[in-house]
């Protein structure tokens, strides 16, 4: 009776021992994975911080201004001057009535093959 019980107990303890060891190794494995992941996150955060710093440098006005100046000639750009600003108030109001006489003469001219825009373009020197 007691002998059988002992045998059962021995087998159970061996099984449990095996179980505990498996668990131990599994946990060690997970811990290793975790450590590796933490290290990876850490290094990625490190590179991310460098990238963010790079981005911040590249978007600084102090970084962009010299580039703009370097290409000012090629792109034909310059700081805005006061005269370049316009406002809605500066736009002429629409005439009360369409100028039908002027429209008629325009259409007759177009039909005759003369486009007034050509004369303006020629005057401005644009082909």
């Amino acid at each position: 009776m007691i002998r059988n019980l002992n045998i059962i107990l021995i087998f159970t303890s061996v099984l449990m021992l095996a179980g505990v060891y498996t668990l131990k190794f599994a946990i060690e494995n997970t811990a290793n994975e975790r450590a590796a992941l933490i290290a990876q996150i850490d290094s990625q955060q490190g590179s991310l911080s460098l990238l963010k710093a790079d981005e911040a440098v590249l978007s600084q006005p102090g970084h962009i201004a010299p580039i703009v100046e370097r290409h000012a000639m090629a792109l034909d750009i310059a700081p805005v001057r006061q005269e370049q600003f316009g406002s809605f108030a500066d736009l002429p109001m629409r005439p009360a009535k369409p100028n039908s006489a002027a429209m008629d003469s325009l259409f007759t001219a177009l039909e005759a093959g003369i486009d007034p825009i050509d004369a303006i373009l020629e005057l401005e020197g644009i082909e």
Partner: protein
């Protein structure tokens, strides 16, 4: 067994085999228990001993996580980074684990030849658990050191502060030391506030922190810095500085002082003369102080905008006579006194107000106390407690007292925003919060009149050079050319020039002070007075930044006419 003497047959008592075995087993069990108790006692004792050992995770006296502590990023008002944390590897050694010091020194010096061999040998010898070898290295060097495979040499990732704007906002940001603690500027102020507390509580370690929003606009800051650098060179000046405020909220939009330093290399901040002239420099403000006198006198009601003052003769105080720089020597109306920057007229205005009232007004606009401001680099102004007759006379045109440019810009902001004093700040502040802190210093009517005077001076007076550059942006301002004291006398060749301005004056939003120290004339046709340098710098800055700040040019003359007070229209 006992043998007795009286001949009785001795009683032999023999224990049965079973009993003997039983006794033996009991003895064995006792020994076993003793052995077990001893064994467990040993284990328990060792556990207690191990529990009592304090693990030393400190790095040269500092907790390890303080080293890797992060600081919150600092953003400008548009969300552009002004300061960020980057992770950098730092090289450390554990001397007690180094086997061959000589070899370690030789190998390390192949990668880091700058280290002295003797210093390194001394550093690596001993029983310490941790010593720094070199901090804040590049990842490439880390890779090469790891390849050497020296035992007892390793890296730890540290947070390092990086300022992408380089020099541009150096005096605002300040800098941090190698342990990532703020040592100057807003960085130091942040440490004094909540960050230090958070770090002490262990909350601000390694976590992403909420960014700090500053009121500064990096675009405007860039333009101001660029123009000041240009001014320094153009006028061969020894220093230049500028500050711009939002007059309604007191937010600092830009603040620069040259010569400056690179916050990425904190050592450069120790160079002489690179102090923050806006907050930590105090100067005799010169004629820009006349705006203060005018504002105070107009507010007190002692003078009106229509009054006239006798500026025919200099004013005598004992042996001294105070006269005008470009004297008209006639009766001047109050706007003319301001326009021609008449010392005599300004003294008369001050005298009409009374010197004690004038002194009290200086206190009211905070010119004799520290400006409440975040930067730790501040200096107290020197304003005499009591003004004598002659002291009050010179003070009325900005001599005999010294204040910082920050004092002046705060006063100018109060004069043009309707008369409310608002303490400047480097943090974002909305209008409602600011309005709750308003303190009335002059009446709205006096504020309107000061606006008119400032605009008039730009149109017809000493600000015309400035106005030429910033045409259409309705800038108004006052020049100030303060002679420096050289060997106890005022020198006319060494001057500190100021220009105090505000724009757009029909609906003012920004106030600005520009300072150029000891300028020379740009060319023979120009002068060294403030209108030529500080004034034109102001004009060029406004011309560049006004569109960024949403101020469109308007050439309508009606805007200037509307500024004229009804009394003299």
């Amino acid at each position: 067994m006992a043998i007795t003497a009286d001949g009785h047959a001795p009683t032999i008592a023999l224990d049965g085999a079973r009993k003997v075995r039983g006794n033996l087993t009991q003895a064995r069990i006792r020994w076993m228990i003793l052995a077990l108790v001893l064994g467990f006692g040993l284990v328990g004792g060792r556990l207690v001993q191990l529990g009592l050992v304090e693990t030393d995770s400190a790095i040269e006296g500092q907790a390890r996580d303080v080293i890797t502590a992060t600081r919150p990023p600092i953003l400008d008002r548009n969300g552009l980074e002004m300061a960020v944390d980057i992770r950098v590897p730092s090289l450390f050694a554990e001397p007690r684990r180094i086997i061959d010091v000589q070899e370690a020194v030789r190998k390390l010096r192949t990668v880091l030849p700058d280290l002295s061999a003797d210093w390194l040998r001394e550093r690596l010898t001993g029983e310490q658990g941790f010593v720094w070898v070199q901090r804040e290295l590049s990842p490439a060097i880390q890779e090469r050191v790891m390849r050497l495979g020296i035992p007892g040499i390793d890296f730890i990732t540290e947070s390092k502060r990086f300022y992408p704007g380089m020099n541009e906002a150096s005096h605002i940001l300040g800098s941090t030391n190698i342990d990532n603690r703020g040592i100057a500027g807003i960085e130091r102020h942040m440490d004094g506030e909540d960050i230090a507390l958070l770090q002490d509580l262990g909350l601000a370690r390694g976590n992403a922190l909420t960014p700090v929003d500053l009121s500064v606009d990096m675009r405007v800051q860039h333009v101001m810095h660029e123009q000041l650098v240009d001014a320094l060179q153009r006028y061969s000046a020894i220093a230049a500085a500028g500050v711009m405020l939002d007059i309604h909220t007191g937010e600092v939009i830009a603040l620069a002082s040259l010569p400056d330093f690179d916050p990425n290399q904190p050592a450069t901040a120790l160079v002489k003369d690179s102090f923050n002239r806006i907050t930590a420099g105090i100067f005799e403000p010169g004629s820009i102080f006349k705006t203060v006198t005018m504002a105070g006198a107009l507010d007190s009601g002692a003078v009106r905008i229509t009054d006239s003052f006798d500026a025919r003769f200099g004013i005598r105080f004992g042996r001294y006579t105070i006269d005008d720089f470009h004297g008209k020597h006639r009766i001047l109306s109050l706007p003319e006194v301001y326009k021609y920057s008449s010392n005599i007229g300004t003294i008369r205005v001050m005298q009409a107000m009374g010197k004690d009232n004038f002194r009290a007004f200086l206190t009211r606009i905070g010119l004799d106390t520290r400006v409440p401001f975040e930067l730790p680099e501040m200096r107290l102004p020197t304003v005499p407690k009591e003004l004598s007759e002659v002291g009050a006379a010179t003070a009325s045109f900005g001599h005999g007292l010294s204040v910082s440019p920050l004092h002046m810009v705060t006063a100018y902001a109060a004069f043009v925003n309707g008369g409310n004093y608002i303490a400047p700040t480097l943090y974002k502040r909305d209008l409602a919060t600011a309005q709750a802190q308003y303190r009335r210093v002059i009446s709205p009517q006096a504020s309107d009149e000061v606006r008119y005077l400032m605009r008039l001076n730009a149109l017809e007076g000493s600000g015309s050079q400035m106005n030429k550059a910033a045409l259409g942006y309705r800038v108004g301002g006052k020049t100030g050319t303060a002679e420096k004291v050289v060997d106890g006398r005022y020198s006319s060749s060494k001057v500190t020039n100021f220009f105090g301005s505000a724009f757009p004056l029909d609906n003012p939003r920004y106030a600005m002070i520009i300072m150029v120290d000891e300028p020379k004339a740009e060319n023979a046709q120009q002068g060294t007075t403030a209108g030529w340098n500080a004034g034109t710098v102001t004009g060029r800055i406004v011309q560049r930044v006004a569109p960024m700040l949403g101020v469109a040019p308007d050439f309508a003359e009606i805007l200037d006419e509307n500024l004229v007070p009804p009394a003299i229209r």
